[in-house]
Symmetry: C2
Subunit: 215 residues, 2 copies
């Protein structure tokens, strides 16, 4: 086993350090954030920092790095309070990655990378038509984190659009069947293979495997 | 495609709703949080909300749900400012899941689930010996999120212990080769298969596949 001290981390070349530290947290979600400003210019940005915050109310958090995410995303969310989160699948991960290029502010990443805007009555922000699991959010909170200048964005889930076949009887969504991908580090994309669903853990009780359908 | 409105979400049975909402964010990291209190009682808790916050300084965030994560974890972190994050692999995911059982406060989950405490000079919190990628953190910030009573814990990476073979020339860690797992929903564990590493995206330039070693 290799030991790496904080002193050695501090001395690493900047990009190597970014690759190393970005690998530490484990597998990350791969999502496209869809937004639009009031002049009608849409924006699409891949984000690997979307996380579950709570089920009741249904809250999703994400970390935005103002200097690295396409500038439109955060300002559009603040302006309109509306955004969508769209799963990235094996079919669209290359287009999704391409949204991280620094396009000019008046350019829509949808068009540049070849993904299609999809609109739903009453929801301002665009969905990604090609995504098989997507949902709109209403902005609840934008909290700058003084510790490193990133921003914590929290939204409440408004409307979910999902392939019917992945909804299991107990509420679980089989996102593996949608071929949703995971990210490691800055640039590696992975598909998944289920090991098991496990029963709710209790002291002094053996874990059971759950059927995919739940029970 | 199935549409689910916020009204329908609100009316769902509580556990089905938790499974659904927990599935929305995509694949999640699987990590074990190792802590110890000053009386010497160790604690181990699986957490699926660890996320990358920044590389310089090297910061990792996680969301703790005070009422659901074994009570010791957050109080130990606050008391000692020391904790470890240990990747969950295919070899230990069942033991890792079992740490979520509600053991009494004076019981060590290490012993109950059959994982081994490992100590490093100068670091108070225990690592998980069986984990192939683990690191210690120094607590930087504990921020209660008023919106739903969860707590955002931010720590700075102190010391990394990792299987030498997974370190690539450009700094990337091949966590797939360690068989680190991903979680979906509340209870589903997945191993991964790499699709590709992709080059840094630029406007008007085709993406390249990167060799696993980087370049």
């Amino acid at each position: 086993m290799k030991h790496i001290s904080s002193g050695e981390i501090n001395q690493m070349e900047q990009r190597a350090r970014a690759r190393l530290i970005n690998s530490l947290s484990g597998f990350k979600s791969a999502n496209l954030i869809g937004t639009k400003d009031y002049s009608g210019c849409s924006n699409l940005a891949i984000v690997s920092s979307v996380f579950h915050l709570g089920a009741d109310p249904a809250l999703i958090g994400m970390i935005i790095r103002p200097e690295s995410v396409p500038r439109g995303t955060l300002s559009n969310i603040k302006q309109t309070s509306s955004y969508t989160i769209n799963h990235v699948s094996t079919l669209i991960y290359r287009q999704a990655h391409q949204t991280s290029a620094r396009y000019d502010a008046d350019v829509s990443e949808f068009k540049e990378v070849g993904l299609t805007e999809e609109y739903l009555d009453g929801i301002f922000a665009p969905f990604v038509e090609q995504s098989q699991l997507k949902f709109s959010l209403l902005l609840r909170q934008v909290t700058p984190l003084a510790i490193n200048g990133t921003v914590l964005v929290i939204g409440e889930v408004e409307h979910i659009i999902v392939d019917q076949h992945c909804i299991k009887d107990d509420g679980y969504l089989d996102i593996e069947s949608l071929e949703s991908v995971a990210i490691s580090g800055l640039d590696s994309y992975h598909q998944t293979q289920r090991l098991d669903r496990l029963s709710y853990a209790k002291p002094d009780r053996e874990l059971d495997s759950l059927p995919l359908e739940g029970r």
